[in-house]
Amino acid sequence: MSLTEKAVITKKATREAFGDEIVKLGKENKNIYVVDIDIGKSCKTGEFIKQLPNQHVNVGIAEQNGAGLAAGLATTGKIPFISTYAVFGSLRMAEQIRQEACYPNLNVKVACSHGGLTPGSDGGSHQAVEDMGVYRTMPNMTVIMGADYHSTRKLIEQAANTYGPMYLRFTRDAVPMIYDENEEFEIGKAKQLKDGNDVAIIANGDTVYLALQAAKQLEEEGISVKLLDMHTIKPLDRNAVVECLEIGKIVTVEDHNILNGLGSAVSEVVAEEGKGKVKRIGIQDRFGESAPYEKLMELNGITIENIVTSAKELLN
């Protein structure tokens, strides 16, 4: 696929994708609302505030109320995007989203920057290691993390046009651009980046780029790799995982706790199918700390080298 050959020099944080896409969506549809919890500047809603003030609400530093207010808006046909950081959007308002968005199945979107280890310097308090897992266990919820700027924009657009509560997670830090702006994405459907038959790598979010580089190295060594961008971990593209079982050896990669994220979701399918083996790469069930993002990834083994090594271990 030609897109895998795309230059990877350009980097952009996927929170920028939210900031840009939500303005476009808001102009097209006056029912699109942004509910800010004070940190709009950081979550990139500035342009939306400027251009669409009548579709904007800022509740101040009050996540719980922001979530409930969004649910109230949704009952009147609005499509509110609550915008905050992943730790707060998944935990400080978790029960409100459960009770008032997921339980009544309202059209509320929780759109969060600072996913995973990307807010490196902020430290462990601000690095969301468990957010996708929290939402994965809530009935009716969809859980998404795009790999780069363009794919994230496409997924946000589709989220706006698809009914139901959804959690969308973005990076604070810049991550390499992988896809062309014309690439299409479907919520709940894995994006195949490479087809191969020795080992399968399933990654999501900011780790897709790492997985792509690892796949290239493996190929250079004569190992054929199937690579999937599993941007939606719920509903999981079960068929795509089952297809990987023809290979039977799967490495999962995520910037999230290895518990209850992508690796767990894939492992559940593999266990139920009763064949195949999985190696999970991700945050090692521990909190982050202040450090450069790349250093934190390294500390958790979320590196190109470890993906290559893990794939080879599975082959032996």
Binding site: G60, A62, G68, A70, L73, T76, Q99, E100
Partner: protein
């Protein structure tokens, strides 16, 4: 708004109480105390004040009602059944499998429920969202919400209150069912609320304090506050008695969440037949 006399509403409030108690007795489960303290306000809203259409429960211009203290669902269900949103037969199906009358209000299962509630402190925020949408869309509908006094111990209530003031939601009318009791005892002992009326006032609400069992006062106050388009959200502190109308339940904390037995049920119906004392 319907033309209906105070006497008719008083009679209706008794019928609602009997219906709620019957529901809880049949289910042998539910919350009678708070259902009875809220009964008169709910009656005034559903049988006089609110512009609603039982044939079209999702009518977009309807007034909304948010029962933030969702555990007193039986009194709202009684209103919905008697107002024709759902068939009366459901009164015998409270908390049963497949029933629209879930343990706490469920908008997916019961017509006429504008938002699912049950976890205290959360409903008012939803009401603020509805009222804000009404303002932005230049609609005339009002949003009525009921919170418990014990519920006001939740911090989220005050987050919602400050937001209602910021966005000048004079289409939001909040009732505090001030029955002074919560599960573990008197609110004053569990966690004192101080002067709740003053609290709403300093946050920027227009406040009124009434006898929550005086139909005249409820109707008159609703008339006043709904006319005042002054950019201020409204709060009506309704002093009520938990269990009002059934002597052995009145002001007794343990009647928060238990069902009457057959003898108690008969006595309740008998007492209610005589009206409120």
């Amino acid at each position: 708004m319907k033309e209906v006399s105070v006497a008719e509403l008083q009679e209706k409030a008794i019928e609602l109480r009997k219906t709620a108690i019957t529901m809880i007795f049949e289910a042998q489960s539910g919350h009678p105390g708070g259902s009875l303290s809220a009964a008169d306000i709910i009656t005034a809203l559903y049988f006089k004040e609110m512009n609603i259409d039982p044939q079209n429960p999702k009518w977009e211009d309807r007034d909304r009602f948010v029962l933030s203290k969702g555990h007193v669902a039986p009194i709202q269900y009684a209103a919905l059944a008697l107002r024709g949103f759902v068939s009366y037969e459901n009164v015998y199906k409270l908390r049963q499998y497949g029933s629209p009358f879930q343990g706490h209000p469920d908008m997916k299962k019961c017509p006429g429920i504008d938002i699912s509630t049950g976890s205290l402190g959360q409903g008012l925020s939803c009401g603020v969202g509805m009222a804000l949408a009404g303002k932005r869309d230049e609609k005339d509908y009002r949003v009525f919400a009921m919170v418990g006094d014990g519920e006001c111990q939740e911090g989220q209530i005050w987050e919602a209150v400050q937001t209602a003031v910021k966005y000048k939601l004079d289409n939001l009318i909040v009732f505090v069912d001030n029955n002074r009791l919560q599960i573990d005892g008197f609110c004053e002992e569990i966690m004192p609320l101080q002067d709740i009326e003053k609290k709403f006032e300093v946050f920027g609400f227009e406040t009124k304090r009434i006898d929550g069992h005086s139909m005249e006062e409820i109707v008159q106050t609703l008339d006043e506050v709904t006319k005042a388009k002054n950019g201020k959200p409204k709060c009506i502190i309704a002093d009520t008695i938990k269990g009002k109308g059934v002597s052995y339940m009145e002001d007794i904390c343990s009647w928060h969440g238990v069902a009457p037995n057959e003898q108690e049920y008969e006595q309740a119906l008998e007492e209610l037949a005589g009206g409120l004392r």
